[in-house]
Point group: D2
């Protein structure tokens, strides 16, 4: 087991990149090895040795560990020079499609936070319209990518060179559903509903009409009905056909956090104990999942943690359940899960640096 | 047709009562006939002629019409003296159970905003545990109560002496579902899901742990799963068995507004046009329902209006729909619908005083 | 006195323009004369007779009066053809500088909501850097412009052809200060502080980093210290030198509303009654100012009204006062005041269409 | 220097107590010595060994370190048995007045987060109306209390047995003002204004009309003008007479954070450099103060940190300054400062456990 490792992040200007930087800075295994931050830096900034991180994220200004970090001009040479072994990509998916082949060729292990390499089925990938889809190289890389959800793929993650870190909505829906579907108790013929609600950070840092305060505040809106691009992940990872689930995202007037309310019918009547047992068995050894036995999760309990919180309620006849699943879209839904994958890849405690 | 009518409100200290006062004050038919506001007033306040409304709701202070209104000590004599013909009860349901018999006996027509008289089936009423349930008098009164949703019961409302004004959640679920279920296109055997989200005013004015800013803000929580007391209204008014629908309310971090996301399967594939036609036919002549043909409703579009806003999206195969329904819980979900009922009772334009 | 008048608005896509449209549509004097909405419309939209207002502001969709309105391609001919007499400009100040001369030349009376014509002193105008500043034509127009605050300039507004509608912050500071300064009771040598806080709609509809939900929510920030461009209005309208007042705006995490907390020293000790008298005398006959005698205004009381709310508290020794002033930045701070000016120009009740 | 110390907290049910528990649990010096949590526990809960902390604060449920903590029935014997050396009181001030004498008599060192022992002048204490004020015992205890602001009283805190932890508003006003007043550059005769805005957690956890979501959200209100009880701390710690400062608190619609905007006149014109120098000299060696040289602090930058953030802007003539000061009311304004005091008392790094 390696004691430590040198990391780099491309894409620190967004919300997920900022959270990832913070997590890696405080990770006990990475003491003295702050991540290399690389990206687009113009000449003027390059001349002063890059952009101080505190200029990009003023709230990190005071942290003594963060205050010396700079965003440096990206080059493969820079990564080599700094002996980077693990590369985190918090970049748009088009950019991840482009850079991953080179990174792998250079022997880097990559944890990609975008949707670039998450989907096995080309029909599910269609929504992204990747330029290189179907090329031999792209197919070969896709074949070695592992969907980075340790609760489902722990063993394969350990040996992976390319981790496709899951989507935020996807994580909030897959984790509560996979155990029940895998156990065969869900009546798929009656259809599953996943009604998800996410805070505004999920919509990204770009100022758009939809991220304007006046649009998001005091409001709730549904979008992407029957068409959200996280749907493919749900189907592949839970093991469903497209007509077995409806997934509807909504934009919540809060900065961060996702709550998914999930509706299932059971083949046979269940009891609270029988359902709880399925979950407890499935998530034994999974420190980043918290099961709620007596109450239900709320967004406030999960925000600023890297946990996935799951609770449920049964109908009186035991034939239906409403499952409530909460997480922080920037942590368990992005950067926290990325660090969890890092921990698994190097055999460290899965929760290290995440509590 | 009566030109005007004298109204009174009991229960103006809550949010719905305040909105109702505002609506009646500006109603074109009630010019010069401000509502009599009656309720509990202690001796000291009684001595000064009641409590100025502006002390109870400071935001109404500046309105010249509102500023002279006072909350007066309730008595049946007061109502008689002021020649009140229509009594609005914005009181807790226990109080409505107690006062309605006397009000009807005295010849008043009553519009009750509580849940006291909404439910025909005693099994559905069980959740309220009315003390007098099953007595002959209570049964007789229940038998003459009309569920106050003009889009469903316009004719009966016109002649009613007791209107049971619908619940806020109920209105947001019944209006979009009733037309489809009545048309026989919904496959009830696969179950309907109604996932509803409401602003904090729905939880009432009493300061409680759940209405504390620190609980509600930056949060979302589900509650009352399989047990919310509006469920009975859904079953009776849509015409469903308890196992044909799941209804889950959530507490949104906004002051007002409800959005319900509703999931149905169809017996036979539908088209956008076939579903739209069902709605347009059903709501022809219903001015307080707005159908969205090209976009979806959002809470912001409905808040501070008395409209019920309905839109929907079909799956590619036409076998499933997600319906989005929005309204303001204090207006179409309470006071606005109460005024709409008043209009129907007296043969006035259904939208008068509501635009 | 004219019974009615035909109006037009240029600039309906912003928040103030939307509110202005709503106010004019419901103004009792303008029944049957909805405002002509004119602006930039591309060929495709022009071909279909302009852009339906409901496409620009979906929340106006349901209002029967608004739903037929369209944004038409602007031309002076259009205004002439429709017999427009009063033109509202809810445009950026550069555009108002450019269009006002032509509008006046064509005999229109103009109510300009921008900062283009508010400032008498060229030193105060410097912050706007108008291209035409100092030209003879610009000077002549400036000379006839009247600062559109009826409480200060009612008589001149009645006869004006060009109204420079005040800034939102300015209104919240000038109204509470002018009466005291005019009465000579304020010790100007000790300096006045105006600490103002505004909701996000004040920052405009353009998506920018500062109007992003993630920037504004759960935050408060000061900006424009010693440099905000509303400062000149304060100096000219209150009658102060630049070193006699400090004005600091802040961005509040709310959609709308301004609260200004204002600190003054008095030359001689005052009593609650002596200060109240100054205000009551000054604002006698000013229906859009509400004076708070026993409590203090709050943003919630003022929002969605066209009132300016003013209250104050004296120190025990009567030598200092803290004045609290609230208004809705889109109404009394913009469109509401514009309609108030319209009322004064035509001799109508000053509060018509504003309650 | 002691390596570690055993602590206890009374009052963990409030917001400050919860934050304090979290800080002590993660403090590097207190590993293996979780705080003893003591308080009111009824018989039933006592019988099960106290109340699990996770039942009181569900958001702490998942933290492995927190999940075994329980609120135990308070007794002096319990504290003795557990060898508690330092007692944190996060209790109402009346209770702190009552318990501190006993705690000191038993040899405990006390850090009291309430206002019970902060004020030297009895005239300033009058606002609290302590029952025991003026008794010999109370006077003796007051005489040994040290105002727990390390930036001002570091040496005395090191040896103190009773720390009066400062108020949240007070901290946000004293830290930016004390350096300037001590340097003699402020013209006190012209008066200082401190306009402060605080999030709702500052109002406590009790559900009251003022902490109701519907009151606080979308609102801003001033309160306690000329009468807030933190005023005495400002006067004593900055060194001012009552007529030299006006302090006005406001309730912000955010969960946590304070921003104070402070207005001063200088005796002689200053430059940015001369003012910055005063601050940098004063706060040299003070790791919990962050000085902003090129931008201004915002609430978002300070929230969830234990820093006090200070920035300022000068008028063009250098005669006036607007100072912006931000902190988290629950951390630097309460629990973070309490831990900072603990660090100073035991000679540990002042920022330990606070980054």
């Amino acid at each position: 087991m390696k004691e430590s490792v040198q990391t780099a992040i491309i894409g620190v200007t967004g919300y997920a990149g900022a959270e990832l930087t913070r997590l890696l800075l405080h990770h006990p295994r990475l003491k003295g090895k702050p991540p290399v931050l690389a990206g687009r830096v113009d000449e003027k900034d390059a001349a002063r040795g890059g952009i101080p991180l505190a200029e990009i994220h003023p709230h990190l200004a005071g942290s003594s560990s963060a205050s010396s970090l700079r965003l440096e001009p990206f080059s493969w040479e820079l990564l080599a020079e700094r002996k980077v072994e693990v590369l985190f990509l918090a970049t748009p998916h088009e950019q991840s499609r482009e850079w991953v082949p080179e990174a792998l060729a250079r022997g880097l292990r990559v944890i990609d936070l975008s949707g670039a390499w998450r989907l096995t089925e080309s029909s599910n990938r269609a929504v992204y319209a990747f330029k290189d889809d179907g090329t031999e190289q792209a197919n070969a890389i896709q074949a070695q990518a592992v969907y980075g959800m340790p609760e489902l793929h722990r063993a394969r993650i350990a040996g992976a060179h390319l981790i496709a870190n899951p989507g935020c909505y996807s994580t909030s829906v897959i984790l509560p559903l996979r155990p029940l579907v895998a156990a065969g108790v869900v009546d798929l013929s009656r259809g599953i509903v996943a009604d998800s609600k996410s805070g505004v950070s999920g919509a990204g840092k770009a100022p758009t009409p939809k991220t304007h305060y006046m649009y998001a505040a005091d409001n709730l809106s549904a979008y992407g009905i029957f068409s959200h691009r996280h749907t493919g992940e749900l189907l592949e990872q839970i093991g469903l056909n497209a007509d077995e689930i409806v997934f509807t995202p909504h934009l919540l007037p809060i900065p961060r956090g996702i709550l998914s309310t999930i509706y299932v019918h059971f083949r046979e009547p269940q009891t609270r104990a029988s359902v709880a047992k399925i979950y407890h068995v499935f998530f034994a050894g999974s420190p980043m999942v918290r099961l709620y036995d007596t109450t239900l999760p709320q967004i406030q309990y999960s925000v600023r943690t890297s946990y996935s919180d799951i609770g449920f309620q049964l109908s009186a006849d035991g034939r239906r359940a409403v499952i409530v699943s909460c997480l922080d879209n920037l942590l368990k839904g992005a950067s926290g899960q990325a660090v969890q994958n890092l921990n698994v890849m190097f055999g460290w405690g899965e929760a290290e640096g995440l509590e």
